[in-house]
Subunit: 224 residues, 4 copies
Amino acid sequence: MALVFSSGSPAGGPRSAPQILGAAREVLSAQGYAALTIEAVAAAAGVGKSTIYRWWPSKEALVADALAEIFRAEEIPDLGDTRAELRHAVDMTIDNYANEDMAASLPALAAGLLHHPELLARFRESFLSRKRENIAAALRRGVRRGDLPDDLDTDLVQDVWAGTIVYRRLMTGAPLDADLAERLVRLVLHSPPLRAPREEAAPGGASPSRLDPAPEGKVRRSPG
Amino acid sequence: MALVFSSGSPAGGPRSAPQILGAAREVLSAQGYAALTIEAVAAAAGVGKSTIYRWWPSKEALVADALAEIFRAEEIPDLGDTRAELRHAVDMTIDNYANEDMAASLPALAAGLLHHPELLARFRESFLSRKRENIAAALRRGVRRGDLPDDLDTDLVQDVWAGTIVYRRLMTGAPLDADLAERLVRLVLHSPPLRAPREEAAPGGASPSRLDPAPEGKVRRSPG
Amino acid sequence: MALVFSSGSPAGGPRSAPQILGAAREVLSAQGYAALTIEAVAAAAGVGKSTIYRWWPSKEALVADALAEIFRAEEIPDLGDTRAELRHAVDMTIDNYANEDMAASLPALAAGLLHHPELLARFRESFLSRKRENIAAALRRGVRRGDLPDDLDTDLVQDVWAGTIVYRRLMTGAPLDADLAERLVRLVLHSPPLRAPREEAAPGGASPSRLDPAPEGKVRRSPG
Amino acid sequence: MALVFSSGSPAGGPRSAPQILGAAREVLSAQGYAALTIEAVAAAAGVGKSTIYRWWPSKEALVADALAEIFRAEEIPDLGDTRAELRHAVDMTIDNYANEDMAASLPALAAGLLHHPELLARFRESFLSRKRENIAAALRRGVRRGDLPDDLDTDLVQDVWAGTIVYRRLMTGAPLDADLAERLVRLVLHSPPLRAPREEAAPGGASPSRLDPAPEGKVRRSPG
DNA sequence: AATTAATCGAGACGGTACGTCCGGTCTTTTA
DNA sequence: TAAAAGACCGGACGTACCGTCTCGATTAATT
C-alpha cells in the first residue's frame, strides 16, 4: 500500500520509509501506542527526527501508515460458496484485530483523529473503505446466489462484524477464535434484521420468513 | 458511583473531587482525550497538581472516574415486555456512546490500559461488569418469559450490541439512531447464532426451533 | 553579586543556582561561548533544562550571571597614592579581561544584546556601572589630591583603559602585562586631552595649544 | 578585496559571490549577527546552500568576507599635516565601527575564532594588518616631521584608538563623534607614555627621565 | 558543435539544540 | 495538618539549522 498519510512529495515517502515503518511497528509492539514517540521511532530506525516530520504530519499519520502495511484488506476470492466467503471475510477481520497493536492503535487513532477531519477521512478511506468494499462485493455475490436477502444492509453487517471483534479484543478481552467467526458468519446468513433501512421501513412478510427456516440448508446447498 | 480508580485513602477521594472530575469532563469535552493533561485539569479545578496525583495514579484513572459518573449502567426495569426491555438496554448503550467524550475516551482508555492489567481489570469491572450484569438480568427475564432461547449467549449479545455501537460511533461515523437500536434488538430476538458456545458445539434441533418461531411470533406481531 | 539577569521570583534564583552558574563557567572555559548550550549546562549541572529556563530568559542572561560572579568590580581602596590607585584600577580591569572567557564572552554578549535593550541596559548596569563608579571614585580622589586635572573626563579614561585592554585581548592578541598597565596609568596621569567635554569646547589658551609642556606641569604643580 | 576566507579554488569564489555577500550583509543588518544563518543567506541570494559551503568553511568566514568589502583600510594620504592625517586615521576607524553590523560582528567573529587559530590569523591579517600598516605609515610620517616622538609605539596607539572606539560603540554606547575623534588625535600628539616598550625599559633622555623617577614619589606626596 | 567536467539550484538526509510543555516527585506556604 | 502552590528533574514535543550528500540542470571549456 502506498503511504497514504505521508504528505511530502509525490514520491510518497523518504528513502528510509521501510526502516521507519518497521521501527514504528517494533516500538508499537514493545511499548504500546501511548508510549510510542517519534524520537524512539527515529532512533530505532537510525534516522533523524526531521526525516519523519518531513514526511508525516503527526504520530497518528505515521502509525496509520505503519499499520496500513499489515492491515488486511484484500479482495475476497470468489469461492463459489457464500458461507466460505463470509468466513474468509470474518477471518480477515479477526486477523486484523487479533494483532494487539492494531486493536489498541486503530481505536486510539480514530479517537485522536476525531478533531482532524481531513486525516480522519483519509484514515477511514484507506483502512476501512477498501476492506469494506471488498467484503461488500462478496456479500453481493451471496445475494446474487440467493444465499443472502437481496436487501441486505452490507454496511450494518460489517459494523456488526468488526464492532464485535474490536470490542471483544479491546474491552472484554474475550477470545477471537473460530467459534466466534462461525457465529458471526451465521448471524448474517440467518438474521432477518440485517437489511437495508428502506426495507425495514416497509417490511414485507415474505423475505424474512424465507430466511429463517431455510438458510442453513440453503447455503450449504449452493456450493454443492 | 464511588471513585473506583482513586487509590488514596478509604475516604474515597479529596474534598475537591467534584470540582476535579467536573473539570476533567470539561477539559475532555473542550480539548479531547489526547489533549487532556493533569495540569490543565488541576488549573481548571483550581487545585494543585499534587492533589490529583495523591488520589489518582494516572490520567487514565482520573478520566475513568470522571466518565464513570456519567456512564449509564443502571438496572433495566422489569417492564413485562422483553422487546421493550431489550430496547431499553440498547438505548442505554447508545446513550453512553453517543457522548463523543465517552466514545473517544473509553477505547483510548482501554488501549492505554492494555499494559496495566490491574487498572484494566478495575476499568472493565466498573464500566462493563455492572452494566453487563444488569443487561444480562433483563436478557434472563426474556429467557424465562420464553422470548429468548434459554441457551442465549448473553455475553455475545452484549459484545454485538456495544461493539456495533462503538464501532459506528468511532470508526464509520454512522448515526446511532432509533433505526439502529431497533435492528440490534431484533437481531437478538430472531437470530439463532447468538447462543452459548456449548450449545453451538452440539446444535440440537429443539432449542433453536423454540427460538425461531416463538420470538418472531411475539415480536412479529408489531410489524405484521 | 545577586543574580541580576535571573527573572523569576524575588528569591533571586533556583536552589541549584551555584551548580548552574559553575557549570556554565566550566562549559564556557572548555567549549567557548559559541558552543555553550543550555542543554550542556543543564547536563553538567545535573539539572533539568526547565530549571534554567524558568530563571533565565536566555543563554545571554545565564552567561551574564555566571560571569558576573567572577567579574571584579570592587571599590578601589584609598591608598593615599593616586598612581597606586590608578594601577589598582587598571590591574582590576586587566584581571577581568585576561580571563579568556570574559574577553570572548562580554563582547559577544554585548553584541548579542544590541537588539534586547532591556537586557543590554541591565548588562551595562551590572557589569560596567558598578565598576566604573568605583574607579571614578578613585579618579576623583586623584583630582582632589591635585594629581589629576579637575576637569578629567572619567568616562573617557575608562573607555580608553577598558577598550585598549579588551581590544588587545580579543583582536590583536597582544599581552596584557605590567608594562601595558603602567602605560595606561601614565596615560591618565600625564595626558591633557582626557578631560571633560565642556573644557574641550572652550579651550583655554595654554593647555590645549601646546599640550606637552603644560599638562605635565599642571599635574605636577597641583600637588606641589 | 579578494575573498580571503573563501577556501575553494584559485578562482576565488563562486559566480554568485556578489549576491551571496550582499545577501549576507542584508541579513546581517536586518537580523543581526546571531540570527544570521547560512540557509537564510542562501535563500536571500537565491543560491543553494552547498554553493556557500563549497566556498566558505563557516559562517564566520562568510561574514568576514562580507564585512571585508565594506571595511575601510585604505592608505592615509600624505596631507603634509600630521594632525590632519591622524584625524583621517581616527575617522576611518570610527567609520568602520559606527556601522552597527561591524561593531557587533567583528568582536563576535574574533570571539568565535579564538579557538580556530588559522582563521583567526587570517581574520587579523585581512582586517587589521592592512589598516594598521597604513595608519602606521602615517604615524611614521608624523615622526619624520618631528610632530611625534621617534619612539612612538604605533601598535599601542592603534590599540588605544580602535579599542576606545569599539568599546564605546559596543559596551557603553557612547557616541562616536567629532569630539571623540579630536581627543583621540590629541592623546597621541601630546601623550608621552605612548611610546615603544624598549624605550620604557631603558628610559633615555628628557621625557622619560622626568616621568620615571618622579611620579611615584610625586603622587605619593599628594595625600601626605 | 558536441562532449565533458565543473558548478550550480534544490533540497533530503542524519543530527543537535532550541524553547515549550507536561509528567510525576518533592518542598514550601497558607489557611 | 491537609492541601494549595509550585519548584524541580526529566524527557518528548515540533521547529530550525547544521553540514553532508545526492540529484538533475545549466554552463564553459575542451575537443
